[in-house]
């Protein structure tokens, strides 16, 4: 019984939040890694692309709610998602046409593109705040829980409760679908193959008749879709606030680099590595250990490695360690 209680407490406070957070990071990191693999620069504007996509979803959701359209127990935001993806695609394509294309034609060095992307980041940041304001926005609706802590306790008679939020379930399901679609697209379709060819060797790809502008366009569209999905899921699960997406940039980049920049599988693994380290290192293990340890040996302190204030520092440290000992990341990406 104690073992079960420990397991439930661990799932409630560590496993489930970390899986949901990991899925959100993985989706974000996939976008970053695709841009890095195909367009060959680190896109610092990715966090704010997520914010923009999520913002459109929030606005459309409000519209739908106003009209009384809903999905019953599921959040209305899922209905708004396709519209938001289209809006976000339009934004990144316009940005590419207006900004990045100029530098691509000049064959600018990646480091210049990185700085350019920072400029784009600030502009997008401003646009989002200008449209929706800097505050928290609430847009989640529908059933809040798949199973709430109280129900779980009544159901099982255990002392610890297990809560699974609807948004956490949706996050995982949608992330799996998005990843399956992405890999199918990259491995099975003609366009996907041409993208990979372009990523592996630009000159060879050009010689074999691949149109680079088309590859760039498709990349941006996929990245916009991934960013919007990641942004909406994060907003649904936590809260939508423009500045938060800017802060997410660090763990997302850490995930992409830890997994190996340019490697989609690595991005997913990296997302979960970062999420689980952030949560486990800042978790206070007292409760779990009290259940597991024999009587008299329970810890009196909190058994917390780092205070929760240092959550973001964890991503930094992992990033440093990986770059020092395995610069290409866990899954053999490109060296940064």
């Amino acid at each position: 019984m104690d073992f079960l209680n420990a397991l439930v407490a661990l799932s409630n406070f560590v496993l489930i939040p970390a899986i949901a957070y990991g899925s959100q990071l993985a989706l974000g990191a996939l976008g970053v890694t695709l841009i890095y693999g195909i367009l060959r620069f680190s896109n610092f504007a990715h966090g704010d692309t997520m914010a923009f996509g999520a913002m459109i979803a929030v606005l459309v959701t409000w519209g739908l709610q106003g009209m009384g359209v809903g999905l019953g127990p599921l959040p209305t935001a899922l209905l708004a998602l396709p519209v938001a993806i289209l809006g976000c695609m339009a934004l990144v394509l316009v940005t590419d046409r207006l900004v990045y294309k100029f530098y691509r034609e000049q064959k600018a060095k990646p480091v210049i593109l990185v700085i350019v992307s920072m400029g784009v980041m600030f502009i997008m940041n401003g646009v989002v705040r200008f449209i929706i304001g800097p505050n928290d926005q609430k847009f989640a609706d529908g059933e809040r829980f798949i199973i709430s802590a109280r129900e779980f306790k009544q159901l099982t008679g255990l002392r610890e409760g297990l809560a699974i939020k609807t948004t956490q379930g949706i996050t995982v399901v949608v992330a799996v679908i998005a990843v399956v679609l992405l890999f199918w697209f990259l491995n099975r379709t003609r366009t996907g193959k041409s993208m990979r060819a372009y990523s592996d060797n630009e000159d060879l790809a050009l010689l074999s008749g691949i149109n680079p502008e088309r590859v760039v366009m498709y990349t941006w569209m996929i990245v916009a879709a991934l960013a919007t999905v990641a942004g909406v899921l994060y907003g649904l699960d936590k809260t939508f606030k423009p500045f938060v997406y800017f802060q997410l940039l660090l763990p997302i980049f850490a995930s992409a680099i830890v997994g190996g920049l340019g490697n989609p599988l690595g991005a997913i693994a990296g997302g979960f590595v970062i999420a689980f380290s952030e949560v486990t290192i800042t978790y206070a293990w007292k409760k779990v250990l009290t259940y597991l340890m024999p009587e008299g040996l329970e810890p009196s302190g909190l058994v917390q490695l780092l205070s929760t204030d240092y959550k973001f520092a964890v991503s930094f440290v992992i990033l440093l360690i990986v770059l020092l000992f395995k610069p290409t990341g866990l899954f053999k990406g490109k060296a940064v």
Binding site: F13, A149, G161, A163, K238, F243, V244, S307, T308, D309
Partner: protein, 398 residues
């Protein structure tokens, strides 16, 4: 032209001095508040509150020998200790005030107290400095405040929890001076009362996700979670994450967490939660607020009644000591503020002055039910609230 100007100025000055000298018993009070700076939108009404009291006393013609009370405003800036010190220095040396209403923010109040008021032997009554540090500041019996120390709220909240049978609590506070000071005072009072504080941890405002913070709080455990934060910042995030994960379902909420946003966000989900906000049912500030509104200031802000009371206390103490010298009347402030004696409400200053003149005693209630405790700060009335049926309801006043 320049000479003409200077001559005019000189004449005006002499005339002014002569005029002032004409009143043997003119009382001058400094009003030092942050008329520029982070609370500049609140201070005009606070100063007006103090000036309303002075006008009331002047009009009554009962203070000392029918003295007139003249306010002298000075700018504390709220944050710049050097500027505030200079302004207070000017009040005492060139305006020669007999007492100071102010300052407003805790930091500059401490600076003025130690640099100007104590060396010059001037009395200061602050309407709004709430830092617990001022309780132990070296003041030679010259410093008072009509607002309670944040330490007092810690004590009140701890009492509430104890009486309601909570024996262990976890504390999450917003990571700034207010949150830290409040969390420390709650923890100290709760532990002293026999309770157990399982964890005291900070949360940063403005984050999207507080599940990690709540994970640590849940692991530490406790009957109730004390959230010393802001109702429109990280506080609701902590409550939401605690409710979602089933970690806590009752909360103890100090003043920063009490607001209508609490009802709209959570409703009956936090049924049975308790809280404290400054407030009292023993005094009616409406007389002061109406008079302040009549001056064109915004009377909806905080600490207006406290400012009125601060000025009133100085003048009543002068009357009781029959002197405007700080050395004489400083000792009378506690006497006029507390029982025994006739209760004096806001707008009844003339009555109070008359009683004192006749040698009687008064218990000044004023706009905020002033009750001063050693070492010269408001005991602080608090409203104990309880979430009942999804609404914030008043349980009792303490």
């Amino acid at each position: 032209m320049k000479k003409l100007l200077m001559a005019t100025a000189a004449v005006a000055l002499t005339a002014g001095t002569a005029f002032a000298g004409g009143h043997a018993k003119e009382v001058k009070l400094g009003v030092i508040m942050g008329f520029t700076g982070p609370i500049e939108s609140l201070t005009p009404a606070m100063a007006a509150g103090a000036e309303v009291a002075m006008k009331e006393v002047t009009d009554s013609g009962l203070l000392l020998d029918a003295a007139t009370v003249t306010p002298f405003r000075a700018d504390s800036t709220c944050v710049d200790a050097a500027a505030a010190t200079a302004a207070a220095e000017r009040l005492l040396t060139s305006d020669k005030v007999n007492g100071i209403v102010g300052a407003d923010c805790s930091g500059v109040t401490g600076a003025i107290l130690s640099n100007v008021a104590v060396p010059n032997g001037a009395v200061m009554i602050s309407p709004s400095a709430t830092s617990p540090a001022l309780t132990t500041a070296e003041d030679n019996g010259l410093f008072f405040r009509t607002s309670p120390s944040d330490a007092r709220q810690g004590q009140v909240l701890a009492d509430v929890l104890k009486e309601r049978g909570f024996t262990s609590a976890a504390i999450s506070y917003t990571n700034n001076d207010y949150g830290k000071g409040l969390a420390d005072s709650i923890a100290a009072a709760f532990t002293a009362g026999g309770g157990e504080v399982t964890i005291t941890s900070a949360h940063e405002d403005g984050k999207a996700d507080y599940s990690a913070e709540v994970g640590a709080l849940a692991s530490a455990g406790g009957d109730i979670l004390i959230v010393a934060g802001y109702v429109d910042q990280g506080g609701p995030g902590i409550i939401r994450a605690a409710l979602d994960s089933g970690a806590f379902d009752t909360f103890a909420l100090p003043d920063g967490m009490i607001g209508t946003a609490l009802e709209t966000n959570f409703g009956d989900e936090i049924e049975g939660s308790v809280g404290t906000v400054p407030g009292s049912d023993a005094a009616d500030p409406s007389v002061v607020l109406d008079a302040v509104a009549a001056t064109g200031a915004d009377a909806s802000g905080p600490y207006i009644g406290e400012s009125y009371d601060a000025a009133a206390l100085i003048m009543l103490a002068m009357q009781a000591a029959n002197s405007k010298d700080p050395a004489d009347y400083a000792g009378q402030i506690m006497n006029v503020a507390n029982a025994p004696g006739e209760q004096i409400a806001a707008g009844e200053l003339a009555k109070g002055l008359q009683i004192l003149k006749d040698g009687g005693e008064i218990d000044y209630v004023g706009a905020t039910a002033v009750e001063l405790i050693e070492p010269g700060e408001a005991a602080g009335g608090y409203r104990e609230i309880e979430i009942k049926g999804g609404k914030i309801t008043t349980a009792q006043y303490r």
